[in-house]
Amino acid sequence: MTVGSLPGRLFGVITRRIILERHERRLLLLMGALVATLFCAYTIAKVIRDALFLSEFGALALPYGYIGVALAASGFVWLESRAALRFKRVGATRFHQYASIGFSLVAAAVYPLARHWTTAVFYVWAGSQAMMLLPHFWSLALDVWDSRRARVVLPLLGGCGLLGGLLGGAFAGWATPTVTRVGLMWTLSGLLIVAFLLTRVIEGHRASRPRPIEVSSTVSPWKIIGRSPYIKILAAGLALSVIVSTLIDFQFKVYIQRLYPDPHALTQFLGKFYAGLNALALVFQFSVGGWLMYRLGLGRSTTLQPVTAILFLSGLALGAGWWIVVGMRWIQGVVFQTLGKSSAEIYFMAVGSRERRRIKPAVDTLVDRWSDAVVGLLLIVLLRVMGVGVAVVAGLTLAFVVGWIVVLVVLHRAYGRAFEQTLSSRWLEPDVAEESMRVPSARKALREGLHADDESRIVLALKLSERSGDKEIARAVRGCLRHSSPSVRAAAVEAMEAMRLRDEDGVIRGFIVESHEGLRRAAIRYLLARDPRPADLARKWLDGTDAVLRQETVDALFDGPSEARAALTLEWVDARLQSGTREDLLVAARALGTMTGNATVQRLRTLLANPDVEVRRVALGSAEHRPSRELLDVLLSLLLLPEVSYEARRALAALGNPAVPALKPLLDGKHGARAQGLAARTLARLASPRAVGALMAIVKSREASLRDIGFQSLTRVRVNTDKPVLPRSAAHKFFLRELAEYRGFLERAQLIEGEAAPEVRLLAETFRESSESALHRALGALACWYEPKPLSGAFERLKSSDAKVAAPALEYLGHVLPHKVFRHVSRIFEEGPKKKETAVAEGEPLAEAIRLAWRSDDGWLRACAVRASRHAQALDRNLFATGGGDDPLVQGELVSLSTGGKASDRLAAESAPASPRVAC
């Protein structure tokens, strides 16, 4: 085994353990490289920042830096929100990346010419905008990985980040004599560019995941914080941790500046210091950290932070040696970075999820930015105004530490009470469960739940146990294998699979012949995952006589990647295909979804043409799982068949961009309105930029029905991807166009609504229906940029003629739309449609409405106009000779009109309302 193959083997072991598909392994590698690059860059930035600032301004100027960073951070957050509003397609991530690359390049270029100011600006930038790249990475990671994978992958990525930080620090520490500080700055720029390129590659893997449905609250986050004692204590605890951390950092920097007066030596030291810090954090995070939290519990492990702070302060005060001071600072930094962050997340979990989402950004703002600024102000007052020495700062820090300990004690008690309330609710969110399992009291509650009398409580406890590593819980989970309820036993098997527990008594093997389907399936999945030779086991079941076991084995292999998939071979599939029975065809179709290659595609093609609908459905499911361009033609033909249309749509969308050119021709209407709708829905599901481009083309069409389909599909994309699909200006333009059409149809409807004749009422209703469609399209256009959910509610309200009903919708639109766009809305809905300037003569409203309808592009509207003309004495029938009679609907009516009489007599009886005398 060569050294070079070691990382590869390690990577292979890790990815096999967490069972990733092949394309996911590549993605993991890319994301690991990205996060390592970001942390490497950020560490180098910190080294440069601190070294330059200490050399140029001295440690005593740091308080000004803290205030500058706080102000700059707030400014960048505001700028980000403005940029996101204005350039939503670019996105906040892209904005930060461009800004950071720009800043770093300018700094590297300008530093040799203007050291003083460059140093100051660099310090402020590195502490504010540069930090914001990291949260965007985690947001991207959560978009790329589904929640199940994220639980396993994100800690790995965290480790990659720490490794990157270690490398960055090491590079800064050892390469500074060679590259100098300016060289480090250019290196930083290079790393940021690499990170940008990696991000572009990874963004292509972003998936649209359904977001939790949130009811937006009108309560400000500060009000939520203000009325909750627990949140106030939590915020105080977090703020104190930042204050103490910043004070310690300040004193450390004063200390090292005295030790390293030479700027290059200082840079080298800082590089080695951060490398050491990251190395220790890496080891701590993956070994001791979790064990400490588990053993000591939340309260005691959190208290370790102020304890390490006291140790550091003592080391400084007693004039301890350099190694001791640096060592204490390392320990303090590692404990704050690892235990501190984890415990903060756990304390947050006691806040309800909706409130948590609202207040977390506000608390982070308060804690991260303004706590630093408070420290800066305090130090300026002490050192500059009052002229006290740095030793007094140590005393002040100690006072803060004592206050912090008091707050932590109060916080922990309050947490216990708040957490009890959360646990006693019937619904526990997965993210709450994961973090809360670290707490001894939560584990106790779980053990009690596993021994409860209520079956549903046991099942919930078993689901939560999946994330626990506790031995007693594992024992209790095994005990549930003998429960009388099959649902409990099934949940126990699933928990054992997730916890990787061995079935020492061989109980689970007996479950594969149970009558309960869920239990059988769970047992099959467990045995395939845990058996030392899973492929042999799978083969035994696949070749056996039990058809149900065979089917369920194939389903298990389909659902997740596994070594057992090797049991499914083409020969085996061919044998099933040859037998020709329905069950065998279904199982063969499913099995093909686990394989790749040309031979698989040919077999799938055969099954997709099978007359049995269910066989085709299953084959389409496999085609979705294993998309292949070679199946495009057959998938397109299946798209139009009602019985398999849904599955065909999913399979086509899985193909990605290659499906777009094939779907575009269906949008032109030559294959009918149904094909148009299906093609548009498929493109919406695909949601790639090319697919969106194809949909954009139809929203500009002259045909209202096509624009309807286009806007509905684009709104679907908007909802699924949670990103705007049109530029804001285009959304406004389309909105105003449809709004004008709405107004026109509404005025025409109002002209003739009071008429009694059924044909005229039909025409009026058609106008009104057209106006509603136009309004729907108008709000659909807005939904391509703005939040779709409120606009859906706005549409329902604006349909109403009651001003009170429409008022909240108008209020909302007035709030979100720019004034020059909203004034058109206001004119129509608040001022009311204007009376037409050209006065309509008495008795001529119907004639006028018919003339206006005849001018439209809508065949149905024109046909209704012709029908209604029987009642318009004032109308000149020569109007209908002026063209627009090509539509078959219109032609039929024109012919009927020319024959005259018979149709009217027949329908005269229908002028009364629907007869109540109907027999069922």
């Binding site: 046909a863 029908r867 039929g892 629907a914 007869s915």
Partner: protein, 178 residues
Amino acid sequence: MLTPVERALILRGADLLKDAGPRHLLGLAEAAREIDIVEGDSLYVEEDPADALYMVVEGRVRLSAGGRTMSEVGPGEAFGTWSLVDPSERGHRADCIEDGLAVALHRDEFYDMAAEELSLLQGIVRLLAKRLRALVIERPDEARIEGEGVERPEAVMEAELVAEAAKSATAAGDARKA
């Protein structure tokens, strides 16, 4: 042959479709078929599954069950409306008593169209819910859904009896004290 507009106006006469939008009616009109009805013909008998709604355009149809005439349906009137939502046996027969023309809308075609137009189904569900609500108000005991609300109405009655008895005992006690 009727034009689609004519068919749409005719279909509007059916109770279940009276609130359908014009374009929905157009879709249904295009799916509906015209049937010439001849005197003496049976459109369906009691045992036939209900699979289509009929609208008389011209002529007359007699509806009867067990030899007894239930009603006669003339131009502009519908019968078999509920076959759109209920596939049970007809339970009666429809015989043509005067030559003419009818329009038939089959349930399968109705559902094919409704599958593409959710709002059409929503409108019908709303209408059915309105009818059900009216029925519930008229006959609340018969309309109660099993498993909803009070499962054991007798338990409520027992509780009321106990409360009444307690009240009476208190009143008697008070009277004795007085």
